[in-house]
Structures are given as structure tokens and as C-alpha cells.
Amino acid sequence: MAAPLLQPPDIEGFRRWLRRHKNRDLTPKLMTEREAVRRFVRDGDYVGFELYGTVRCPLSVVREIVRQGKKRLRLAGQGLIDVDLLVAAGLVEAMDLTYVGYEAYGLSAVLRRACEAGGLRLAEWSNGALAWRMKAAAMGVPFLPARSMLGTDTFRRSAAKRIRDPFTGMTLAALPALILDCGVVHVHRADVYGNCQLDGITGFALEMARASKRLIISAEEIVDTDEIRRKPEKTAIPFYLVDAVVHAPFGSHPGETCYLYERDEPHIRDYLKAAATEEGMKSYLKRWIHSARDHRDYLKMVGRERLERLRTKR
């Protein structure tokens, strides 16, 4: 009954891959969403997006992936609108699922349609387990032991295994390392080399950045390297982890990015109304993704005045 591992924890391969592909020279990596997705997301990839749908989420990159129609994606499924858009566009083949829903606003109609029709390959996890799996990859070890998920159907429908601790004899859940083919993280500021600084909670940004073979950063603001160097302790993701830097102001719209802008509640409500039916969802994708050439175009469609009203008042 255990779910298959959607992405095997090939730690030796990961080391070799990082050594060969991660450029440790200071190279400018600033590029458009289109170029970043074209170069670093492939059909069949295992991908993940931090933090989640309505919170500091790289939705401009998600929308570009939908625009380019990347196929047969496998997904770290901790999300809301991010997961919805990809699933509704028919781009997702399998998911390590921990939570897909709208909290205050209820269930995801898109996930419901996909699961109730039986079309998705799923493994179940908890939020802690999925983050610890990325942490294992970040540590360069094939698994981490944990004390959650034990005894439940969540465990039975995951790919975790029960192990006995050789020191104490305790029973633990062994969580296999999760190595992403491509991770995408939205940050407050980055320089052109990919030195990234975040404000507020860090969610699982640090773990995902270090668990990804390829890493796309979208940033609210591109800053001078001198600004990064003034507060190096704020750098959560150093340049040598990063493959692409995309400038994406309001990149998390209709979600929030803390201290900068709030959720666009009317847009989220309209989205949920649209998502309630397959036709509604199709027209949402058409209107907000396929009709826009790029993120700048999307922001124009949302409207400058509306975006200005969302800015956090401090």
C-alpha cells in the first residue's frame, strides 16, 4: 500500500551534479521569467514552489510554466493557487501531497476534480515531513529520522519507512531525502548574482534552495551587491545555489509578500469562484495567464492603481 518514491534520493548523484553544474564564479544571472523557465524547467521534472500559494509564492514563475506548457511534472504539493494552476492546466502527473486547500476559504475544487476522477499519482506527507525531506537533501544525507506520521494512514500512503534507532531502540520514521530537479523561491531582494535576502518567516526557503539541482529565484527587488554586503547575515540563499534571478515585483500576486503588499482578496475570491467549475478554471487560465505575454503584462491587466492599494501601510 505504501506509495512509491516519486523522486529517488540519489545523494551521490546529487553531489556530482552540484559539483559539475553549480557555478561558483560570480556570474550575472538576471533574466526574464521566459528564459529562466525555458532553460531550467524541463518536461518530466520534479519541481517545488516556496512558501505557499497566497504567501510569498513565486506565482509569476508558476504562470510562466503554465504558459510554456511544461509537461508530466512531479510536484512537492504544499500549496494553494500554485498547485491549482499547474494541475488545472494538466501539467502535473504526480504529487508528494501535504496540503492543498484554501484554509479560511475551504477545499481546492481543482484538487477535488483531479483526485475524485482518479488521475493523479499521489503520496501523502505532513508539512514537517516534506520540509525535513528537503532538509535531508540539504544536509547531503539520504534520509532523516523523525517522530511524526507514525501509526497513521498518512504514513502508510507515504514512502517513509519505519526504522529502529541503533542507539536507543526507538521506532522512528525514516524520511527519504527530497532532491528537486528545479526549485523556485520568491524573495524580497536579490542581487544579479543570486545573493538573496528574505524578510519575515523563512518557511522552508532555506531547505528548498539547498535541495534543488536547479534553482530559480524571483525577487521583488534587484539590489546592488553592496547592499547585500552591508548585511551579509541577512543572506539566506548565497549566489552559488542559484541558477536564475528574475525580477518580479508583485510576483506573489494575488498572494501577499510580508511588509510589501497584502493579499488581493477580491482577486482570490474571484479565482475561487472560477475554480469551482472546469469551464470557469479554463477561462481563468486563458484570461490571466495565456492572454498575458509575461508578468509585466499580467500586472498591467491587474492595474497599477489596484496594486498600489495593496501596498502594506507601515
Binding site: T54, G77, L97, A114, G118, D153, T154, F204, A205
Partner: protein, 256 residues
Amino acid sequence: MSRVQYSAAEMLACLAARQMKGRTTVFIGTGVPMLAAALAKRLYAPELLPVFEFGGIGSTLDRLPLGVGESRTFDRAFAALGLCDVMETAQRGLIEEGFLGGAQIDPFGNLNTTAIGRYRRPSVRLPGSGGGNEVASLCWSTIILMRHERKRFVPRVDFLTSPGYLGGPHGRRRAGLPEDTGPRLVITDLCFFDFEPNSKRLRLAALNPGVGVEDVERETGFPFCVAARLARNAPPTPRELRLLRRQIDPGGVFRR
């Protein structure tokens, strides 16, 4: 006594808020637990330390969060950390009590938030565990908040997402979960259940205003025993309701 009107969610929020005491670390899930924590901070436990799974530690809860990762979960907080840190803090034993809910609950306090019906072709696909499994596995105790309906109180959950006492008194130990942990209370819009110490099954402990044992029986899909001394919960006070409606959730996001 005047008849004050209130919703089921308001009743749950008030009853849960009264359970949050002193300077305790509480793990807050999405929904009614947020209302309860916001109410508790204003009325019963100003020094309560709410912890949210994506890293918010000690928010003032001046503004009601709509989600567990939102900026409101770290409004003027002591710390804004990350998901692993919070879950590891719970795993180390530093989080006293967790508050969570579910679509289904069984006699041992096991919760389903994953799927109704058969897993592979569910009749309703629910969101999944989220942080619920860690809250239920790793906090010293948990308080479960439920709408009391027969379809929710079932002999066997369709999918066991987050652990109560699993199969009975030794379930958690056998599974390898931390010792001396587990749910201590189920709060519903009809009553309180605690857990009978030997069987670890739900036991009716208190009734809400205007509710009789037979009302609880009608809405519960399995037999339960009744405490020798059945307590009576006080209804929401005008002060609690005023705070919930005017200050905490004027838009009625979670209250309705």
C-alpha cells in the same frame, strides 16, 4: 438568563479560548483555533505564546490571520523563524498544547483531513495533513475542535491522517510516538469529551447550554461512556461575543 444568540463556531472559539491559560506555548492551526487564540490573548491569557507552523512565534494576534503562513502570524512577534524550526521545537517537547480540527473523528480521537470515501477514488478529497500530523504527534497534548455531526463522529475514520490514541491505550507507544502525549479534550458545539484513562476512548465530560445527553448520542456515530460528574459549560459571555464580532473577526471569516 437572557437568550444570547451565537453560532457554533463562536461557541467553539469561546470554549477553546477558556482552555488557553497563562504563558503556554500553543500550536495554532487554521480556522477556529485562530479565533480562540486571539480571544484568549485579549481575555484570559495575555502572555499566551501562539506558535504557527511556518515560523511565526508570539504574534500579538491584533489582526486575525487567514492562513498559517501569513504575515499576521508574526505581527509584532518575538521571532519569525521557519517551518523546520517550529516542528523541531515541537519534537523537542517545547510546545505544550496544540489546537486542531478535522472532517472526521473516531472514538480514539484519530482525525481525518485527507479523504472521505475510498482513498483512491474519494467522494471528497480533503486538503491533506498539512501540519496537523505534527501537531497531533509532537505536542504534549492536543485539543480537538469539531462541529458535532453524526457524519463526523464515526466508528472508524475513512483515512487516519493525524493520530489520537490510534488503536487504544498502547497505540501511540507501539507506533513510536513520543511518550505521555495525546489528545486531552474534544470540544464541540454540543459538549466536551475527555478521554477515559484506561480505554483512551472519548468520554462525555460536559454539556453545552441547552444540550442533553440524548442530543449528543443522536449526533455521535458510536457509543461513549459518560463521566460520573457531568459538568455544564457556560455559554459565550456578551464580552466574548463582542470581542469576536467587533474586534477579532468583524468580517465573519471563521465565525459563521
